[in-house]
């Protein structure tokens, strides 16, 4: 599965339209958790998690140090989830504005929640502006988490990102809710 993840980032580099496949990475884990599959996605399928293991363990790039303990605290994990959702909503909002014609298409990738990096070369096929905007927005989010994840993998242990990954947190919370009810 890590090949899928690597392919995704490569394709998005050349043609932003492929960024739309990223929606799958948001929907599938949530659907699995909602329908009682727990964190099967994280445990078996997530290409990003496997990519970190590949880089960290198979390539041996990871220092294997333990990350600071507050990373796994509830406050940090939930705080990061809120932070992440805020930017996600902002991204969707921009998409809506582009669709309405209030905003023009930004052919940039919003990285690390602050920098706009030009990415116009990846806009090859003309598509409806809002669809392109969403693709740019989503790719920015995906790439940001990849960069953060890879840095954490190298400095600390592989998959340190998974400790506070918003998707991983959401699926765990859903699983806990479901387990608690029974």
């Amino acid at each position: 599965m890590w090949v899928v993840s690597a392919t995704y980032f490569a394709l998005g580099f050349f043609n932003i339209v492929f960024a739309w496949f990223g929606v799958i990475c948001f929907l599938i884990p949530l659907l699995i958790a909602i329908f009682g599959g727990g964190k099967q996605y994280c445990n078996h399928y997530c290409g990003r998690g496997q990519l970190f293991l590949k880089i960290g363990n198979s390539l041996g790039w990871s220092k294997g140090r333990l990350a600071p303990r507050w990373l796994s605290s509830k406050y940090f994990r939930h705080g990061f989830l809120v932070f992440f959702l805020f930017f996600f909503v902002q991204m969707v909002w921009l998409t809506v504005e582009v669709a309405k014609g209030i905003e023009t298409l930004h052919e940039t990738i919003h990285l690390m929640w602050s920098f706009d990096v030009p990415w116009h070369w990846a806009y090859r096929t003309e598509i409806t502006p809002w669809k392109a905007q969403f693709a740019f927005g989503l790719y920015g989010i995906m790439l940001t988490s990849l960069i953060v994840g890879v840095i954490l993998t190298i400095v600390y242990r592989p998959r340190t990102w998974c400790v506070f990954c918003p998707m991983g947190n959401m699926t765990q919370q859903i699983s806990k809710l479901k387990a608690g009810k029974k």
């Binding site: 994280c42 445990n43 796994s72 340190t160 947190n169 806990k176 479901k178």
Partner: protein
């Protein structure tokens, strides 16, 4: 009635259920309980500590097994 000197213990409230420990355990002694946290099968665990060395959250530990008798 424990066979090994050490065993693994998990801090359930901090475990993120990522499944890294499940993958690395040589005895396949760990499973993820309903996507909530990792549980260790104490019958299978040999206390090698590999899980603890790989857990990205650092919440699974190798501890002395109090039931161990020489």
């Amino acid at each position: 009635m424990a066979k090994y000197k050490y065993k693994a213990e998990n801090e359930k409230d901090r475990c993120v259920a990522c499944g890294v420990c499940v993958k690395v355990c040589p005895k396949s002694a760990i499973s993820i309980y309903k996507g909530c946290y990792a549980v260790i099968n104490e019958e299978e665990c040999v206390g090698c500590g590999i899980c603890g060395k790989n857990c990205p959250a650092g919440v699974i530990h190798k501890v002395e097994n109090k039931e161990y008798v020489k």
